[in-house]
Amino acid sequence: MALNHLYFDSGGHLTAKALGDLASGAPIEELARLEIAEHLSYCDKCIKAYTDLLCPQPPVDLTQLPPAQVTARRAAREGRVLFLQRCARVGFAACLTLMVWLGGLSQIDPETLPKVDMHAAGEKISDSLADFSQQISDGLDQLFDFSFERSFKS
């Protein structure tokens, strides 16, 4: 049986020992760390207690993290790609709907149509949309990187 009763109280919350061991970097076995992470991912009370313990400066030597500007730029780029992909999908769906409606395709008997692998066709369309929005994002990146660097230099 897992010896996790030291880390969880009878109400299922983290004990002071659990928070203390975690915050001080004491060795904790893999399953216990997973259980603690699972609990912290949804419990407001325990996450607050844990973050309070880490004030003011956590006891970890911080090296090798990339500059904040690099992370911020990457986050902005990924956000743009997601947004453009969403727009492209919505636009494509709207065009398809208009085509069906205006072209009278809804009145055609489906039994008379040739068989098409819809799954493969859908994947091909998704890949093309992803490439398209990536190209637009790359173009925007060049524009934003130029203005980003200018704003940092000024």
Partner: protein
């Protein structure tokens, strides 16, 4: 939020987020990756959080990232060592069978109490009270996926314990 403001936020909290990730996963390289992923996720939802709550909010995202990493690593290790994957657990031949007789119920109750939290309450509701995952999730205020995982681990531990006592295969 402007890029420059988000950069300032990263500068202010990155050591804190790294500390959370490192303390949970125990590996520096993984903690660096998870720190990045935490801020990438935070960027997408930054407008949903008030400035005074950034610290616990970022810690929650970091804990989620660490949880996903640890869960995946643990699952790979369990199945690699001959354990059953969550999806492959057989429907029969487990602790549920013992719940059909009074002595079995008593034995299961003892074993469940020995599990300790965070498994005891969920296992009691599932095996003895026959509650659904959704009901347990609501009663214990835990996500459904967490309950499912906890029931799975409880089942494994109970099965092992019963096997040691000479029950089942």
């Amino acid at each position: 939020m402007k890029n420059s403001e988000f950069s300032a936020l990263i500068e202010r909290y990155q050591s804190f987020v790294f500390a959370v990730c490192f303390q949970l996963v125990g590996d520096k390289e993984e903690a660096l990756d998870l720190t990045q992923e935490t801020f990438l996720s935070a960027y997408r939802h930054i407008d949903t959080c008030r400035a005074e709550n950034y610290r616990p909010w970022l810690a929650r995202i970091a804990a989620n990232k660490a949880k996903d990493f640890l869960r995946s690593a643990y699952q790979r290790r369990v199945t690699a060592s001959g354990g059953e994957a969550l999806e492959e657990l057989p429907a029969r031949g487990g602790p549920e069978e013992l719940c059909d007789c009074a002595d079995g119920v008593r034995r299961i109750r003892e074993k469940i109490d020995q599990l300790g939290e965070p498994y005891t309450m969920a296992a009691r509701m599932y095996f003895l009270e026959e509650k659904s995952i959704e009901e347990i999730s609501t009663r214990l205020s835990r996500p459904k996926k967490t309950i499912q995982t906890q029931i799975y681990r409880a089942k494994q531990m109970l099965r092992q314990s019963l096997k040691e006592d000479g029950y089942g295969t």
